[in-house]
């Protein structure tokens, strides 16, 4: 049997989460004795098979078709579902990205299997897989088992370590029937700038009500620029209209787990911590010595952010040369 990774690509390159999923798939395949396979869906994407091989894929099913040029839940689920029916894999992995969050459950319903979303670890022992995923926005971690011959999981970005390993990389053409889609994409607007995506970023600089206004985010952006970081926000700053909701971190925003999370002017409410509590290192910059963010911050800087951040930017520029 096999472990299948459903690859995600954008503008002709594989997304980081796909490399993470392949690497994890490979580790599990070694543990369980399965073969690691990948399915690549799109139009003009065949060239990416070579890269999938570099991360351990022994076989790559390429579904290259004009009708699949842009991701749509219904057509992609039909394709992935057909592949699962043909392949009967023990495990199917996708990223917990905007695409994976939608495609995985739609496909799981199609093939009627269990799915654990947003996993932060998967282990194989005694012939079964154990999945762990944060529940109640990270206030607890659940361990789950999935019954049935096929199991599916989506992986939280930035948690699984990427490791190269040479796979066989045999390319298998797969030409399932593709139904007509019930949706038409009429527009697409990508946010400008070349900052990393919030959920994928290694470093995130977030700001809250303590910034005092939308212009306060200029400081956060400048800091993010020297660190190559993404910009996040507390809900208070989103509700005040200083930042788009897509930047909100927390229980009703994005859940992130970067290496470094810098929270400036954020008090550290429980709903905010739920979104960033699993960051590897947390820096809190706050003028209130009793702010709750200091209870979770590895490094708590007590002071006025309007003084601390500019000085920090200067210092970082100095060491960057």
């Amino acid at each position: 049997m096999s472990i299948v990774v459903c690859a995600e690509q954008r503008d002709g390159s594989l997304r980081k989460i796909t490399l993470e999923a392949l690497s994890e798939g490979k580790r599990l395949a070694v543990a369980s004795g399965e073969t690691l396979k990948a399915i690549l869906i799109g139009n003009g994407v065949a060239g990416l098979a070579e890269e999938l091989k570099k991360y351990g894929a022994d076989e790559v099913a390429v579904v290259d078709n004009e009708a699949l040029a842009t991701y749509k839940a219904d057509t992609y689920a039909a394709v992935l579902g057909s592949y699962i029916v043909q392949e009967n894999p023990a495990l199917v992995l996708l990223g917990h990205s905007a695409m994976g969050k939608e495609l995985a459950p739609r496909t799981a319903a199609r093939v009627d299997c269990g799915l654990v979303s947003d996993c932060i670890s998967i282990s194989f022992a005694d012939g079964d897989y154990l999945f762990s995923h944060p529940v109640y926005a990270g206030k607890a971690i659940g361990s789950f088992k999935v019954s049935g011959s096929v199991r599916m999981a989506t992986l939280r970005p930035n948690v699984f370590v990427v490791a190269e390993s040479e796979g066989v990389g045999a390319v298998a053409d797969f030409a399932p029937e593709i139904p007509a889609s019930k949706v038409t994409i009429t527009g697409c607007a990508m946010s400008s700038g070349d900052r990393p995506e919030l959920t994928e970023a290694d470093i995130i600089c977030s700001g809250g009500r303590g910034l005092g206004g939308p212009e306060g985010f200029k400081l956060i952006e400048d800091l993010a620029d020297v660190l190559g970081a993404a910009v996040g926000s507390s809900r208070a700053a989103v509700d005040a209209g200083w930042r788009e909701h897509s930047a909100q971190v927390g229980q009703t925003g994005k859940v992130v787990s970067p290496n470094l999370y810098v929270a400036s002017g954020i008090s550290g409410a429980i709903q905010h911590l739920a979104g960033m509590g699993s960051s590897k290192f947390i820096v809190g910059i706050n003028k209130d010595e009793e702010a709750n963010i200091f209870n979770v911050a590895d490094y708590g800087v007590e002071g006025d952010l309007n003084k601390v951040i500019p000085a920090l930017i200067e210092k970082l520029k100095e060491i960057n040369g």
Binding site: S97, G114, K139, F144, V183, T252, I282, G300, K315
Partner: protein, 259 residues
């Protein structure tokens, strides 16, 4: 127009999580609310009805207490409510919930034009039910929607994708999962709360839907929950800005090795 809103009763986001001796999460003494994203779903359903006429039916799979959540939605302005409750659904996973909802919506409550759901439940937070339901009912879907329009029988939705947004036209019937920003949710008015008491709330068991316990067997089982390792307060850096910043940068470079 028949508009359906799927809601789930969840823990208050302030709730402290307690894991019982059985490794399961305890709901004792927890304040229960309508899942925050589902309020956007109900609001959008009501707005669509206010514009184009028809009725709004709120549906949920849950325990008896979920009637309170349904009453809240009726007080907001939904017309009627359906609760599917059954001992066999006590530990329902997303598959089980979507099987029950799909059966309800394809038979007893067939004939809907639009289903609104939340983008995810803030409890077990799996974001599965909407997509599973869309597949089972063979619907066009738009997930994580921040803007919705329904004009001349055409549904248009703007949704979040990684790093941007996308606008979709959907064939009806369609399923829309709501993200924050879709609308401003109204609070129930006093007359609304009074009226809600008399609005129909139907309680159905699996047998009323022609389903057996086997049909809704869960495939995903929570073996055990545990609390994450508590984060400890680390070092506090206090003093002259320049010194503090120099110290911080040094710690990030040498100790944390993150920059």
């Amino acid at each position: 127009m028949k508009i359906v809103a799927c809601i789930k009763q969840t823990f208050d986001t302030e709730a402290k999580i307690v894991v019982g001796g059985d490794g399961q999460i305890s709901d004792e003494g927890v304040n229960l609310i309508v899942n925050p994203y589902d309020e956007y779903a109900v609001e959008e359903a009501i707005r669509t009805k206010e514009k184009d006429g028809g009725e709004v039916v709120v549906v949920t799979v849950g325990g008896d207490k979920a009637q309170e959540a349904l009453r809240y939605c009726l007080a907001m302005g939904a017309d009627r409510a359906v609760l599917i409750t059954d001992p066999a659904l006590a530990r329902a996973d997303s598959r089980a919930v979507s099987v029950a909802l799909a059966k309800l919506l394809s038979e007893k409550e067939a004939g809907f034009d639009i289903i609104f759901t939340g983008k995810e439940a803030v409890d077990d937070g799996v974001a599965q039910v909407p997509s599973r339901l869309a597949e089972k009912l063979d619907l066009a879907q738009a997930n994580v929607v921040t803007a919705f329009e329904f004009n001349d029988g055409k549904a248009t939705a703007t949704r979040e994708i990684d790093g941007g947004s996308e606008t979709l036209e959907l064939a009806l019937p369609a399923l829309i999962s709501a993200q924050k920003g879709l609308n401003e949710v109204r609070y129930p008015s006093l007359p609304g709360i009074m009226k809600a008491k008399r609005k129909p709330l139907e309680v159905l068991a699996l047998s009323d839907l022609g389903l057996s316990a086997d049909d809704v067997a869960s495939k995903v089982e929570l073996v055990a929950a545990e609390l994450p390792p508590a984060r400890k307060a680390g070092q506090r850096l206090i003093g002259e800005v320049d010194e503090v910043v120099a110290k911080l940068v040094q710690l990030l470079q040498v100790e944390a090795k993150v920059i």
